[in-house]
Subunit: 334 residues, 2 copies
């Protein structure tokens, strides 16, 4: 009966090879906006060696935590952070209720459309702008405001909805990871409540998997009705060294994969790389001035300097947007 | 062919009735430690009307968020909060490294076993105790300490592991809700990092669904190795009005079901009850001095006073542990 066993084993081998081949095909299909190259290959290799049941690097599904920066990693961040555009639009909407803004900076300059002057006040001006536009209402009220803005506001350069300014290859990557049992989280310096109203629809990431910066809130009963009031006080800055802190606070596990585009993401990538067992770190490098923007070491928005050096030194994956991505946005020609 | 259609419809009706009956049977099996009564019936009714596809109160799975207090709701909290027992045990372990504790309160009294004197210092004494035992190490280090303690420490009255002091009917309720598409969260005044090392094993609740009180942490590179250091500074108190704040911060959606046992849970229940659409609020009332403990309006631990009044006024479900639960703990006789 030896031949029976031999045939049986041969059958298993063929079935195994077929399964492996079809998994590769699936990956190729799933990542169809990625050109063949080292970036795509490194992603697929990592997913396969951490999910194949017999792989020595197998990671149980519960531990397959993947964290993504948002601005510049999942959607664009030029010519300025989209949440800043939101704040500027809010100033215009709220101006009639604030006659004092006509003479008070940074509001006076914003209302005159003089952005340079408005931002000359630096961090203090930004903080005043944030609090005037993000605090004072209830959490439900802010959610409505953010939801309405994102549904209608348009990017100043492309004229597209901001939710169209998301990177098609990264949407495919999110879906590919989830199809392989990964749980995907956003870990952004942006406001947590600014992202949540649309993160599920746009990225497939539910609100409970969104981590971001926040202001303090307070529980109150107003005429017997419970509300959460947004206070003009910083609660948490989810940027730079804050990102691992935010991950530990919200997830409570070390990620096995981290995706960013700037030095502000470096601690998150370091934290991920230092876990025992396999890990994957990837930087999106903005190299495509035609289809998107090109910037790195000297940019005031999304500076990638130390991160680029560390990525090279440690062999992390660096995506060259110009050569690695077939399409940048969903509206780019196929 | 009318009779064919009639038979067909009759068949559908029978099938429907059979499905409904078997769903009730499944609920009855799933909640086998619950006696038949209004508490169990109200739970089953709520789950059925929010999950049946054609119910006017149907809630999509993504919105089926259920939040549970821990101390006194999922596990016992007498004769004192278990995390306080952990802190006292840590003082004994750490005492050799702290000769100054021999004369310094609350440590001196703890080391002499005089708990009354130790706690006479009130909140300040508790804060000193917490920081001395919960801060100073890395997040990984604290996880190891909590994990080892919970695996070996025993309850002073029953001699059981603390993880055996969980309520069997509540374990069944957690599983029943999850089987019906609910996502279960812990929302506890206890320490978030104290619960996470065992919440998945004991409750089936993964670390990213645990919300609790926390101290601040700081990201550092120590000899190039990234660590999160636990600082002796309060970050967030997840109790009373803090519970809705913590829920919004971590979940970003309003729960549709909330389970607690004390006035510290009241804002969480109010927040849940005030959502538009169906909601369910339940209080566990400690009424069983034989199998567990009996306490409510005047207890210093787990006081249930205003909450009991509000539950009655608003028709929330109140579990009478003595009559509603067949068994309290898994080790109770069936």
């Amino acid at each position: 009966m030896k031949w029976v066993r031999r045939w049986f084993i041969a059958g298993l081998l063929v079935a195994g090879a077929w399964a492996a081949a079809s998994s590769l095909v699936q990956a190729a299909d799933a990542l169809s906006s990625w050109n063949e190259g080292t970036a795509k290959a490194s992603i697929v290799r990592f997913v396969e060696r951490t999910t194949a049941a017999r792989s020595p690097d197998f990671v149980p599904p519960a531990e397959r935590v993947a964290v993504f920066d948002n601005d510049g990693t999942l959607w664009a961040e030029q010519p300025m952070y989209f949440q800043l555009m939101f704040a500027l639009d809010r100033v215009k909407v709220l101006a009639p209720q604030h006659p004092e803004w006509k003479t008070q900076e940074p509001f006076a300059s914003i209302l005159k459309g003089e952005m340079g002057a408005a931002l000359a006040g630096g961090e203090r001006a930004l903080a005043e702008l944030s609090m005037a536009t993000h605090a004072g209402m209830t959490s439900d009220g802010f959610e409505r405001i953010a939801r309405e803005w994102i549904a209608t506001a348009r990017h100043p350069v492309t004229g597209r909805l901001y939710t169209e300014m998301v990177y098609q290859p990264m949407l495919e990557l999110l879906a590919y990871l989830r199809a392989n049992g990964f749980k995907t989280f956003i870990v952004s310096g942006g406001g947590i409540e600014f992202m949540r109203p649309w993160s599920e629809r746009v990225y497939g990431i539910p609100p409970e998997q969104v981590i971001g910066s926040s202001i303090k809130t307070k529980f109150e009963l107003r005429d017997g009705k419970p509300v959460l009031v947004r206070l003009p006080e910083i609660n948490f800055i989810d940027d730079g060294p804050g990102k691992p802190v935010g991950i530990q606070m919200h997830v409570g596990r070390r990620p096995i994969a981290a995706f960013g585009n700037s030095d502000g993401d470096l601690p998150m990538l370091q934290w991920t790389a230092a876990r025992p067992g396999p890990s994957f770190c990837l930087y999106v490098h903005h190299t495509d001035a035609d289809r998107e923007w090109a910037y790195d070491r000297t940019s005031s928005i999304g500076r990638l300097d130390k991160g680029l050096d560390e990525a090279k030194a440690r062999g992390w994956t660096v995506v060259d947007m110009k050569t690695d991505w077939k399409r940048v946005f969903g509206f780019d020609p196929r």
